[in-house]
Structure formats: structure tokens, C-alpha cells
């Protein structure tokens, strides 16, 4: 049986830090899946995803989220990162799950889209669709918080999926 779901790289934080980067991603797969189990350190943190170190206003996000009492949809365009967390206090000392799928990431013809799920039981559950307006193949992914840090023990794993 061919192996179609392969781990590319994994990082477990040994100390608090504000970002993690997967670089030199090969174009050998069809899609990428990023799985994170992450907690904040020092206060509320967030999840901002940038590709190929592009920090221009190249990203947009449409989100549907619920905080346990109300459901809302948010739209963010011309952002400097893919914005995963939709409320202001979502990623604190509690552990959260973040899973993102990057489709057809290595083609050089189309802009890149991603679907993500962010699960923070203490604050919100969110589904996002993201767009990066670039035709470049994705070769690096950076996960970063703009406030505080990710806690020691947070894990980030990148998987590659091959088409048949």
C-alpha cells in the first residue's frame, strides 16, 4: 500500500517562544496538514500564519466561530497573516487544538487557500477559510503569536499528503 500521509517535521517546544517555522518544504506532496496542540504562556496569545516569510498585506480570512453563547462570522482582508483566532482571549493557559489544511500548495499557477479549525474549549470554536494571494509554491510556514508566547510542551507537526 502506498504511503499517502507522511510526517514531514515536528517541533515540541522545550521553552516558551513566540514562533515556529517549517522551512524547506518540498513540493513532493499534493496537500499539507498542520496539526498543533498549543497553549499560551505569559497571557493571551494568538495564531498568525505566514507563508514563505511574506508579511505583506496578502492574506484574507473568513471565519465562523462560537463562544458558547453566540455565533459570529468575521471577515478580514488585506492582512499581513492568516488570522486563526477570532476572539481576543482565546489562547491562554488552556490547551487548544489547531488543524489547518493547505490545498495544492506547490502549484505555481493559482493563489493558495487553506481551511483551518481552531478548538479552544475555554473560549471559542472556529472554522476559517484563508487565502494567500501568491502563485508561489509554499516552501515555508511560520506560526507566530503577536502577543506573549507559546508554552513549553506545545507541539507543531506538518504532514504531507500525496495524491494517488
Amino acid at each position: 500500500m502506498p504511503t499517502t500521509y507522511e510526517p514531514i517535521a515536528t517541533t515540541t517546544l522545550g521553552s516558551a517562544q513566540s514562533s515556529v517555522t517549517f522551512s524547506s518544504i518540498s513540493g513532493n506532496y499534493t496537500d499539507l496538514v498542520l496539526v498543533s496542540n498549543v497553549s499560551g504562556s505569559g497571557g493571551n496569545a494568538n495564531l498568525r500564519i505566514t507563508l514563505n516569510s511574506d508579511t505583506g498585506s496578502s492574506y484574507s480570512t473568513t471565519a465562523l466561530s462560537g463562544d458558547g453563547s453566540s455565533a459570529v462570522s468575521n471577515r478580514s482582508s488585506n492582512q499581513t497573516a492568516m488570522l486563526v483566532v477570532q476572539t481576543g482571549a482565546s489562547l491562554n493557559a488552556a490547551w487548544t487544538t489547531y488543524i489547518s489544511h493547505f490545498m495544492n500548495y506547490s502549484n505555481t499557477t493559482t493563489y493558495k487557500t487553506a481551511l483551518s479549525r481552531f478548538a479552544a474549549a475555554g473560549s471559542e470554536t472556529t472554522a476559517n477559510v484563508h487565502l494567500w494571494r501568491s502563485t508561489s509554491a509554499v516552501t515555508s510556514i511560520t506560526i507566530a503569536t503577536s502577543t506573549n508566547n507559546y508554552a513549553s510542551g506545545s507541539t507543531f507537526t506538518l504532514y504531507g499528503i500525496k495524491a494517488a
Binding site: L64, G68, T97, A121, T125, G153, T155
Partner: protein, 171 residues
């Protein structure tokens, strides 16, 4: 190259139905767990819920769900003695229609509290009764998860309901 996405166990409900689906003795040899379920209940209404527990525990659960149900979007929280952020077709929905659910648990064997996500969709050939939900959950317990139990809220899981537990390795 190592296989990183492995089926650990599958349950298929037989004739007569079953009140619960139970995965026991889950090995700690994977990084993450993913459970995919396809279920329907004998509840005579449009839908009932599923009650999920880890390791037989009846405490320390929390969660938030957002859902589109019957044309209305809303958000709610989980029960604390079990996770009830799931819905499942009852017998008043279109025959032979089963609900699909996905549960993902990263680092299920770690000593940290266990975060997880749930997606489910309940279809029905109706303009007024349908369901889509996704949830964030947390089990505030440092034990490795070695058992996952799904109990039908009202009635039983019908014959042909299925659940498969997958283990995922990060290396």
C-alpha cells in the same frame, strides 16, 4: 517508510443495535487519535445527542460548539460530566441517512490536559430539519486516554452504524 495513519479498531453495530460504542485498551504508541463515526439512532425524534467520555471518567469536561440547526446559527457549551456536543439522526429523519462525525485528539497520551475538536453533519431530506456543528473540547485530566466511549443519548445506535479509531504518528 513508516505508516503514520493506522486503523486501530473498527466497530460495526450489528442487528439489534447497541446503546454504546466503546474503544478500550487504546495503546499509547501514537501521537494523535482520530475517530470517524457514521451513526443513526432509534430515537423517534429528529435527532438526539451522543455522550462521550474518556477513560470512564464523569468529570472535568468543557467545551463550546457552534452550529447551524434548522436554519438558525447558535453557540452553546458542553455538559461537564460528559461531552454532548454531537447530534445524531433519529428515526423521524430520512430513512437510511446516517450522521457523520470526526473527533481529533492531539497528544492524547501526554500528561497535559486533553484538547480536541469535533465536526459533525446531520443530513435530512427536509427544508427545515438539518444540522451542522463543530466544537472545541477539553478534558482537564493529565491521564493518557486509553478508552473512548460513545453512548447514544436516547435509544440505541442502529445496525450498520460504524466507528473507526485511527492512530497517527508524527515520525
Amino acid at each position: 517508510m513508516a505508516t503514520t495513519y493506522e486503523a486501530i479498531a473498527t466497530v460495526t453495530v450489528g442487528a439489534g443495535g447497541a446503546s454504546s460504542i466503546d474503544f478500550t485498551s487504546i495503546p499509547a504508541t501514537y501521537t494523535d487519535l482520530n475517530v470517524l463515526l457514521c451513526t443513526r439512532s432509534t430515537d423517534t425524534g429528529l435527532r438526539t445527542d451522543i455522550k462521550m467520555t474518556f477513560n470512564g471518567s464523569s468529570s472535568s469536561y468543557s467545551g463550546r460548539e457552534v452550529r447551524g440547526a434548522d436554519g438558525t446559527v447558535s453557540s452553546t457549551t458542553s455538559n461537564t460530566t460528559y461531552v454532548d456536543m454531537w447530534r445524531i439522526n433519529g428515526t423521524s429523519t430520512t430513512a437510511s441517512t446516517f450522521t457523520n462525525h470526526s473527533l481529533y485528539i492531539p497528544n492524547y497520551a501526554s500528561s497535559n490536559n486533553k484538547s480536541f475538536s469535533i465536526d459533525d453533519v446531520l443530513e435530512n431530506n427536509s427544508t427545515s430539519s438539518f444540522y451542522l456543528g463543530f466544537a472545541a473540547g477539553l478534558w482537564s485530566n493529565s491521564s493518557a486516554i486509553n478508552q473512548i466511549t460513545f453512548t447514544c443519548g436516547t435509544g440505541n445506535f442502529v445496525q450498520h452504524s460504524t466507528a473507526t479509531l485511527y492512530g497517527i504518528k508524527n515520525s
